[in-house]
């Protein structure tokens, strides 16, 4: 007990102060009602995100703003000012690696679009994050590669080489990078689980629960997308399911896939597995046509419900750290969504629905 307090007392105080500065619901509602992108961005002037106003005024380029937000998000886990307790560093590194994997996936997609699909990638190339997070990766060389073999060659010596090498042939034969992308996601979650298992008992339980919930939500999201948008058979989807979920078992995923209507069954499964969030499951997902954004929103609510649970519980655990990361990640993603909505002049009511 004393050692837990000693480990987490400082970080707990620091993070609770930071959590108090997370942008409020009212701020986002006001933001979504802005009548132009300029006004929307100006609203960030007196917040922790004032830098994005400066970037936009200097460049006029929303993609530069988005790149900055991605860099902010990716640095959450390696923020030196937090002075994370040593015990949580492996897990923080595993989380940070998620952004490196995301970046690698972006580079692979650029290679694929450029060399395989012969598409123009001029604009996208500039907005790839070049910062090293865990290990140096030659992103430019990967993008400029002309063959899959060259890509594999450039990744030699990185932790991702084996995963990519294993699934590149399948990507080549299916003319899709999804097998590689999905394998990298599974690798990421496997690393997270390994890091979480090395924690002390109380921290381990909390971390495994949160990671498990994220895995559950990721699996559900995939199942729905693949069936609704790509009509992919379950047997094929099952290859991509991430193991170590918290409450949604393989059979439940199977049930969701085969159910008609699918969304109603999803509600049943979620109610059964996460009884605490039953009230969050409003009528909006009853409709089979519920878009992916709405689904994402619902899944987000589930994870935020977990964060609330952690914040109101025993304070001296890794929970406060994970809650902070999730809240900040959620906040940054909301900002991205609302800015894009502003850029495409989507009406405020619709924007408000998706943030």
């Amino acid at each position: 007990m004393i050692s837990e307090t000693y480990t987490y007392a400082e970080i707990n105080a620091k993070l609770r102060a930071r959590i108090s500065r997370v942008l409020t619901e009212d701020f986002f509602i006001h933001l979504s009602q802005s009548r132009s992108l300029t006004e929307m961005l100006n609203s960030f002037r007196n917040t922790d995100y004032s830098e994005i106003v400066e970037i936009y005024e200097r460049t006029g380029d929303l993609s530069m703003v988005e790149l900055h937000l991605f860099m902010l998000e990716s640095s959450l886990f390696s923020d030196a000012t937090l002075r994370l307790p040593g015990i949580v560093l492996p897990l923080a590194r595993a989380y940070a690696a998620g952004y490196e994997i995301e970046n690698l996936k972006n580079a692979l997609y650029l290679f694929f679009d450029h060399q395989i699909r012969k598409r123009q990638i001029d604009n996208a190339v500039h907005y790839l994050m070049r910062k090293t997070i865990c290990c140096p990766i030659p992103f430019d060389a990967i993008i400029a590669s002309s063959t899959y073999e060259e890509v594999a060659g450039h990744l030699a010596g990185t932790p991702y080489a084996d995963v990519v090498n294993q699934y590149l042939p399948e990507a080549q034969s299916t003319y899709s990078l999804f097998p590689v992308s999905s394998a990298l996601d599974r690798y990421y979650y496997a690393q997270l689980i390994t890091a979480a298992r090395s924690l002390e008992k109380r921290d381990r339980t909390i971390a495994l629960r949160l990671i498990g919930i994220e895995i559950d939500l990721q699996n559900i999201s995939w199942i729905i997308r693949f069936r609704v948008f790509y009509s992919m058979p379950f047997e094929r989807i099952s290859n991509y399911i991430i193991p170590d979920g918290y409450a949604v078992k393989f059979t439940s995923l199977q049930e969701i896939y085969h159910a008609k209507p699918m969304m109603a069954n999803l509600q049943t499964v979620l109610r059964k597995t996460y009884p605490g969030i039953a009230m969050l499951l409003t009528a909006e997902i009853d409709q089979e046509q519920a878009g992916p954004a709405l689904l994402e929103q619902l899944l987000d609510r589930i994870i935020l419900h977990e964060v609330d649970r952690i914040l109101s519980g025993y304070p001296f655990t890794i929970g406060i750290l994970l809650a902070y990361f999730i809240l900040k990640r959620h906040e940054i993603r909301r900002i991205r969504t609302v800015l894009n909505a502003g850029n495409y002049s989507i009406n405020p009511e619709r924007t408000a629905k998706y943030i």
Binding site: S34, Y56, E57, G60, D122, H126, D140, A141
Partner: protein, 677 residues
């Protein structure tokens, strides 16, 4: 000393005077309007509340105002209503028209941003070329790096001299870096650097301009530096253009600053007028409204309304008590604190804790004394106080437009002043004892070098001073509580509350006993008779609190209620004894921090002396001086902050809690000076 006396009024004016009345009321800025729905009389039914119908307009005005503030904020302009504004001369606000104006402003800015975006794209492409040259090189002879991974192309050849301007105009949208290698026979030998993806477009342009390829390794050579210099030149130009666009964006706002500010004032005044009118209840011919105002403003409101309505106005005035009698329930009267402007920093500290109840003591003037005394005792040094005061003056000048920071800066000046005064009392200047102390030598006492004739000769004497100070502060708190309870006519609480007569009796009885013991070498208590009078009698009297409460509320005595009464009595006695003891001893932290302040400085002086040694070199002397400067800076930063926080804590928890409920609601009149930003 007390909150300002308030009055509630009911006024009835003719419907046709409605606009002028609202403008006048806003102009005076002294009325907090309230709904008259509570008065359930048939006459009121004739009037309809028009707040709902005005809400939509009010919301649209507020949205428009926020849009303008958003733009003004981007140019660091803070809008204010000028003090000379006359609401009657402002005129109405055409919301759609103003929105169209703001839309056009946003569109102009968006247009500039779009140009910036295209320019930024070009900058990024050149940066990308530069990045690749840095990485893979463009030196045609020496490079041995495999360029397969790069996606820039290099092309060397000759272009007719007169075709170069054409090259620039025809491919100005494509990032291309031409590096001049030499000139001969009307041809320019050049190295062109561009992205592989632009090859086909560049090739086709070059073929129309008479370009002739040359093998790499021909008579001319270049190096990475030449190429990078060419790119840097191009990038400088583009970034310069980007800055111009950025300035143009700012100019869109600053050039229209006056229009924006005028529009903002018009919107804000209209918004406030709507706010006033939303409090009006209208019948076909008359308007009825009601509100609170400070008693002192009664004549102003009366004269203004009579004047503007040419006497067609009837007003009735009610004191808060009369309203309570009328409604047959206590009425929540808004609270106006009436302190001079220079006490604003302390009023901020009070309102941060809570708003005093109407009619009770406003602790602001007392806080000035207690807070500054505590701060001064904990941070007694002329030099340190001077630094804090200077920081406050600088903060006040730099943060003029931010009221909260301005008040905090003013507080720093006050605290600095207090430290200077106590610095003179204890003779301390940046930790040096170079001034003769007016009271006693604090440094000497802490470092055991005090003059033997000094009355304050040990740390215990210093602790004793702060305990006495604590007793005085707590006693004031109890006294204020009694005054408040008497004013509120809460006689039962006055006698039996923890901070009432019995609590005070026991507290001072306990203090006397403690003093007696200390005065008798800690081994003698006052006589039993004295003890009974000072402690036992009030404790026994306190037991009657429960029974009197039961009788007062016509409840019945049961076994459970009797057991409960005894338990509550015991707990309350324990609370009184332990609470007051800890409250009093808590003030020893004032001495503690003062001692820490001196000890820290003494430590730095010792360290500096050790650094210097007996025969110091110049370097050692400089080091010692630097150490003392750093030590002073550390003490000012750390101790200053600690002293400020501890003084606040003692006031909030040991002083305010004795008499201050903080459940009042601040008087908030609709006024042109209404600060919404």
């Amino acid at each position: 000393m007390f909150t300002e006396p308030m009055l509630r009024f009911f006024a009835i004016v003719m419907e046709r005077d409605g606009e002028k009345v609202s403008e006048t009321l806003l102009g005076t800025g002294t009325v907090q309007f309230i709904s008259i729905d509570a008065l359930d009389t048939k006459a009121i039914d004739l009037y309809h509340d028009n707040a709902a119908s005005l809400t939509t307009t009010s919301t649209r005005l507020a949205e428009l105002r926020k849009r303008i503030e958003n733009f003004l904020d981007s140019a660091a302009i803070v809008p204010r209503i000028p003090s000379t504004t006359d609401p009657a001369k402002i005129g109405s606000c055409d919301i759609p028209k103003e929105n169209r104006f703001i839309d056009s402003l946003a569109a102009s800015l968006q247009e500039i941003r779009e140009k910036q975006r295209l320019l930024q794209n070009e900058i990024l492409r050149y940066e990308e070329i530069k990045h690749h040259i840095d990485r893979y090189g463009s030196d045609n002879y020496s490079t041995t790096i495999d360029r397969n991974y790069s996606y820039i192309s290099l092309k060397q050849g000759m272009l007719p001299s007169d075709a170069e301007p054409l090259l620039k105009t025809q491919i100005h949208t494509i990032p291309l870096v031409p590096v001049l290698l030499g000139e001969k026979d009307g041809y320019r030998h050049m190295l062109l650097v561009f992205m592989k993806r632009d090859s086909s477009r560049i090739e086709s342009v070059l073929s129309t301009l008479g370009w002739q390829d040359r093998e790499t390794g021909s008579a001319y050579a270049t190096s990475n530096n030449d190429t990078i210099a060419a790119i840097d030149e191009k990038l400088d130009t583009l970034r310069g253009q980007q800055r111009e666009f950025q300035h143009a964006g700012q100019a869109v706002i600053t050039d229209r600053k006056d229009i924006l500010l005028d529009t903002w004032v018009r919107i804000r005044v209209n918004e406030l007028l709507l706010n006033v009118r939303s409090a009006f209840n209208r019948s076909d011919r008359t308007i009825l409204f009601s509100g609170w105002l400070p008693s002192a403003q009664r004549r102003l409101i009366y004269d203004s309304l009579q004047k503007v309505t040419a006497g067609r106005c009837h007003i009735e005035w009610f004191a808060p008590g009369a309203i309570s009698d009328l409604l047959e329930e206590p009425v929540k009267v808004p609270v106006k604190l009436n302190n001079p402007k220079f006490l604003a920093p302390f009023q901020m500290l009070v309102t941060n804790f809570g708003i005093p109840e109407y009619g009770t003591i406003d602790p602001t003037p007392f806080l000035v004394i207690t807070y500054l005394t505590m701060f001064g005792l904990m941070f007694a040094d002329i030099g340190h106080g001077l630094m804090v005061a200077l920081a406050g003056i600088a903060g006040g000048m730099l943060l003029k437009d931010k009221p909260t920071y301005r008040k905090l800066s003013a507080l720093l000046v006050w605290c600095g002043g207090a430290s200077i005064i106590t610095g003179f009392l204890f003779g301390s200047f940046f930790g040096y004892n170079i001034i003769k102390p007016l009271w006693f030598d604090f440094h000497g006492v802490v470092t055991n070098n005090a003059h033997s004739s000094s009355k304050i000769a040990s740390i215990f004497d210093i602790l004793g001073i702060t305990v006495r100070f604590g007793i005085t502060v707590i006693s004031c708190g109890l006294l204020f509580n009694w005054i408040n309870l008497i004013r509120k006519r809460e006689w039962f609480e006055l006698v039996f509350e923890k901070g009432g007569f019995l609590g005070g009796w026991m507290y001072w009885g306990g203090i006397y006993c403690g003093w007696y013991m200390v005065g008798h070498g800690y081994n003698e208590l006052p006589s039993p008779g004295t003890l009974v009078v000072l402690v036992v009698v009030p404790a026994v009297c306190l037991f009657f609190k429960g029974p009197i409460h039961i009788i007062k509320h016509h409840s019945r005595f049961t076994i459970t209620s009797v057991i409960q009464m005894v338990m509550e009595w015991v707990v309350e006695l324990l609370e009184i004894f332990s609470g007051y003891l800890s409250n009093t001893l808590s003030f020893m932290r004032v001495a503690g921090l003062g001692i820490a302040h001196v000890s820290l400085m003494a430590s730095f002086f010792t360290m500096a002396a050790m650094m210097k040694g007996d025969n110091p070199s110049t370097l050692q002397s400089i080091g010692a001086v630097l150490l003392i400067i750093a030590g002073n800076a550390l003490v000012i930063g750390l101790e200053g902050l600690s002293a400020g926080i501890q003084a606040l804590r003692l006031n909030y928890y040991e002083f305010f809690t004795k008499f201050f409920l903080g459940t009042g609601k601040l008087f908030n009149p609709v006024s042109l000076r209404d600060n919404i930003i």
